[in-house]
Symmetry: C2
Subunit: 464 residues, 2 copies
Amino acid sequence: MKNLFVVMFFFVLTQMSCKYYSQSSDLDLLRKYEKQTKEILDSALENRKGYNYLTELCGFGHRLSGSDNSIKAIKWAEAKMKELGFDNVWLQPVMVPRWVRGNVEKATIVNSRQFNGRKLSISALGRSIGTEKNGITAGVLEVKSTKELKALGYKVKGKIIFVNKHFNETNFNTFTSYGEVANERYNGPLECAKYGAVAMILRSATSKYDNIPHTGVTAPFDSLKAIPSAAIGLIDADFLSKALQKDPDLKIKLNLSCKNEDEVQSYNVIGEIKGSEFPEEVIVIGGHFDCWDVSCGAHDDGAGCIQTMEVLDLFKRLNIKPKRTVRCVFFINEENGTRGGIEYGKYAKASGEKHIAAIESDRGAFTPRGFYVDSDSVKYGKIKMWLPLLEETGIDWIKKGGSGVDISKIESCKTKIGFVPDWQHYFDYHHSANDEIDAVSPRELELGTAAIAIMTLLLSEEGI
Amino acid sequence: MKNLFVVMFFFVLTQMSCKYYSQSSDLDLLRKYEKQTKEILDSALENRKGYNYLTELCGFGHRLSGSDNSIKAIKWAEAKMKELGFDNVWLQPVMVPRWVRGNVEKATIVNSRQFNGRKLSISALGRSIGTEKNGITAGVLEVKSTKELKALGYKVKGKIIFVNKHFNETNFNTFTSYGEVANERYNGPLECAKYGAVAMILRSATSKYDNIPHTGVTAPFDSLKAIPSAAIGLIDADFLSKALQKDPDLKIKLNLSCKNEDEVQSYNVIGEIKGSEFPEEVIVIGGHFDCWDVSCGAHDDGAGCIQTMEVLDLFKRLNIKPKRTVRCVFFINEENGTRGGIEYGKYAKASGEKHIAAIESDRGAFTPRGFYVDSDSVKYGKIKMWLPLLEETGIDWIKKGGSGVDISKIESCKTKIGFVPDWQHYFDYHHSANDEIDAVSPRELELGTAAIAIMTLLLSEEGI
């Protein structure tokens, strides 16, 4: 029994000492960054510089890829990064599609004694073709989902399909609900065309009950003959649904002048602070610079760009010299092609630079809640240990999860992180005329900036 | 060595089996409530009944304790609880102070060539006396805090003290910043009077930069001669501060018609569902029914009352028969006396009922973040195990912390819980004309209701 106790004693001692060292080094890490993280939070919230930058950016109006507006904004961003004194600032050329909405966008009820002349609040969907000059006039078939089309067979032919799929209000995670409707939007026109429909009108993918339509991209038609498509505001979607019950023979006259033009030159905007110890190791932080042409895209994704630019600005003004290179990338064309993300991915591969981590902010400028980490479990475990340093910015959790569309194209990068703010209201604004600067809370935007800045600092100083 | 291995073997086995059983019973608990918690969330978000109740309640206007309005609203609440079919509904008599604002509330700059006649946006502070009919006209002394008064000595005498204490924007927890300013508000008039000032004007305790003043309670004067006090909107606070730099001799003419009248009869509104197995064990859930007289108190605390009433309504419509009695209490007079909480506390003591737990919702109707639990560590540990059932409502954490003012008066209750939603914007609305129904997101309100309902269900079914 004596041996037993000796062995047990050492066993317990080993366990205790492991525990002790592990805790001690964890605490040292927290102590090391306690002051800097507080300075970052204070400076973000007190000075609200990012909010001012976002206000400036919103002054340009929309930034749809390939638009003249987007080029003006790109030049502003390049000049701003230079003005802020980043070590290197450059434009990365990207060819992007050019889709133009034009001036005509009308849907009017005709062929109905009761509802004749009633105009509906619509917005052409991205990549949609226009109608002929005199519009398309056709009967309307309402479905809850394009999955119903197959069973409806010949009834679809020659009709405008009204996809009245509701945003599921019972999901806490609104992105789940959005995904369901966005899938109808993306593939819907193709499905409708397959069964002989002449156009598609989609209930807007939003949780906000108003009459503002929410646009968004649709799938390319390739060999199939394209048909036009538009989103309709929720109030008019409900109106149309009731009107169809009362008068199933009503028709809609749809006039859209949108068109796809030749691809044009555009750019990712890139700015970086070189690493002081490991300049060859790169951390990318960014959002997408383009937005739909119905607002200035304040939340989607002006905010994400500005937050990540302000991270570098915070480092400059707080005299933080990151050990590793921190590179801010404004990706172009996320909304209708992801060309910016793809181009950066190609560059990352060709340059041979070591991309150790990437953070994307593309879920709006709301109060921070967490970070999703896409990495192996060891890297994930290391990042999770940093949570206490992030909690004062509103970060309650770090979980495994998806990061973002643009950074997903950096294949060699093994740690991809998505910033996750409160998602209750993102789809109130997303892809609509509601997404203007007044929808952004300066305080919430800056809390997000601080969260991303602290995560970036830790990745840069501790490595991953 | 053989013995050693035998002992080690059993040691490891015991550890494994403990782990196994503990996990198994945890999982059983989660499985048991998985369906019900989803039903609660779905029903709250789909039907939004609470939001409709809150809209009805807001139709009455403000509910300041002792006001005629508050009595009308109390009768509505009693009738509503009866209509919803609760087992018992009653009014609990409470004597409350009656403070009346009256029609006159003016602050005008006089004795200044540059600023003469400029009106300032103010709101009398609760419990303030009025001025004489012709008002008080006096010079103004600006301080950052009433702590400065002692050093200023004789300069304070005869002056209107302008306490220009800023809301600290760098705290993630806005309640911390509020506490600092609220302390100036509560004790400020007393301090000013002590040093001979004739009135106090306070920079509003808010994070929202607009010109709406935010009222709130002040301390009783007791033996000291009372002086009047008012809050000033942030834009005018900054204006006044700059004006004083340019013209230190300007005076303010302050006219307030507010007064303290005799106490009047009021009521807590109480409704309950009797427990099916342990009716003698009571869980109190509630908020405070009174609000300041400058808005309908949609967030503060109409929302908290309605959320807890909807918990009982959810149980009724989902046919949930709680094992323990669940009692919803609308406490009166939290804002300026806590008489409702004190009265309920006395009743709880005298009745000898076993109050096993209480939940208060008084931090606004924003997206849920967590629950604070005030209990011993064993009870706290038990509640923490329920977190996975709450996460779909937005609850990220359960921590030890303060519960709420009203339920703190139930002395025998050993588990007091405070519902904690996102706090970034509570003080944008709090105690001001901004706190109207349009400031409330139906979705966020109902997520809170679902969170409180699930917590209540678990307390009722599992005990504590």
